[in-house]
Symmetry: C2
Subunit: 223 residues, 2 copies
């Protein structure tokens, strides 16, 4: 386990915990190691779990299959990331997604209940871990809220306006760079890339904005 300390201490969950305390904590959280071969299921939709996973090595997909059998990759989990925390926290909630090893992967399972409950000895870093967990979840909520807000607009133009407005505000400037290429942006907003490209150019023609590569400038209508 010691060889994975590097991944663990860089994970958002253990951020700030000193090396010498990590091993103790893992014991406290009843950490269990498991290795999964490529394409094997780590968790299956419908199951319940009281543990969350922390990926040590490899790569893991969160996948979703619908009633008619169509499969869809929802998320990619990389070393240091955690998964399944929601289902560990909400007891008895059956998983809505399956978790599959995209390649040979090593997973550290942690007992969420232990993690959420102050141990009687009140190890010095337990507080930190709980805060870290809350932070991870809050960040996730934040990102999802923002994304949903954009996606809930009815037209491509409104989705773009919503997204670009946010970026502008975030940068405190009507000129800014976005962290996506065109295809990625289209995926993020759940729209077709070429249609998006078309709409961006329409908006440019109408004088709403300008862009070059990933740099955008928004204009007020009355200028």
């Amino acid at each position: 386990m010691k060889k994975y300390i590097d991944v663990i201490k860089k994970s958002p969950l253990f951020r700030g915990v000193k090396d010498e305390n990590i091993l103790d904590m893992l014991q406290c959280f009843q950490g269990i190691n498991a290795i999964y071969e490529r394409n094997s299921f780590i968790l299956e939709a419908g199951e319940t779990t009281s543990k969350m996973g922390l990926l040590l090595t490899g790569k893991v997909y969160i996948i979703k299959e619908d009633f008619w059998g169509n499969r869809n990759i929802m998320m990619e989990i990389l070393p240091g990331d955690i998964f399944g925390e929601v289902y560990g926290i909400i007891k008895d909630e059956p998983l809505g997604n399956s978790v599959m090893a995209a390649e040979k992967s090593q997973v550290l399972f942690l007992e969420i209940e232990k993690l959420m409950t102050m141990c009687t000895e009140s190890c010095r870093f337990h507080n930190l871990i709980i805060k870290n967990l809350l932070n991870v979840m809050a960040e996730k909520t934040l990102l999802m809220t923002q994304k949903m807000e954009h996606m809930s607009k009815r037209t491509i133009r409104d989705k773009l306006i919503s997204y670009l407005s946010e970026q502008s505000i975030k940068n405190g400037n009507q000129e800014f760079e976005i962290p996506f290429g065109r295809q990625q942006l289209a995926d993020y907003l759940a729209i077709d890339r070429s249609s998006m490209s078309r709409e961006l150019c329409n908006m440019k023609k109408e004088g709403l904005l300008e862009f070059y590569k990933n740099r955008f400038i928004l204009y007020n209508e009355n200028v």
Copy 2:
């Protein structure tokens, strides 16, 4: 404050805490009461806050204004609900939304930092509160994940399939009732009601499903 104990103890955050302990805890969390008149801002986009709000009476809207000034109601907060917890947890993150009183409202502000950190006396219920907070956030994440999954489909048909599949699985039956009327479902999936109605009927004609009011039955293609 005592007159609000009923709302507080029914809120998801204080669920399970005994009456006689609530007042103590409020002190521990540095609870501050504030009253807002209709249409006044409780929090404004761009600010930062270290507190979360718990609505005691009235009604509050989470609203969003874009670069061009269009205003949009994102969420409705009712008594017992909490808001701003994400921004309280992630320090220094400026609010992406504003919070406005939809009617005269009384709000209890709680210091998130106090709430997240075990007090030295380790009051008996502090653990419970933290778990409750994690639960609230996990539930929120869960609901958002599901919604996003449906919304990210490209066509109305695929959105419906995604949503109805989930409902079918959740009920463990290919016949089930949904908790939405048509207009609500359309809002939830961020699509036009009449277009959705049209697509539902197309699917019915093709033998994919049947429905009467809010009751649906899904069929496999090969039956």
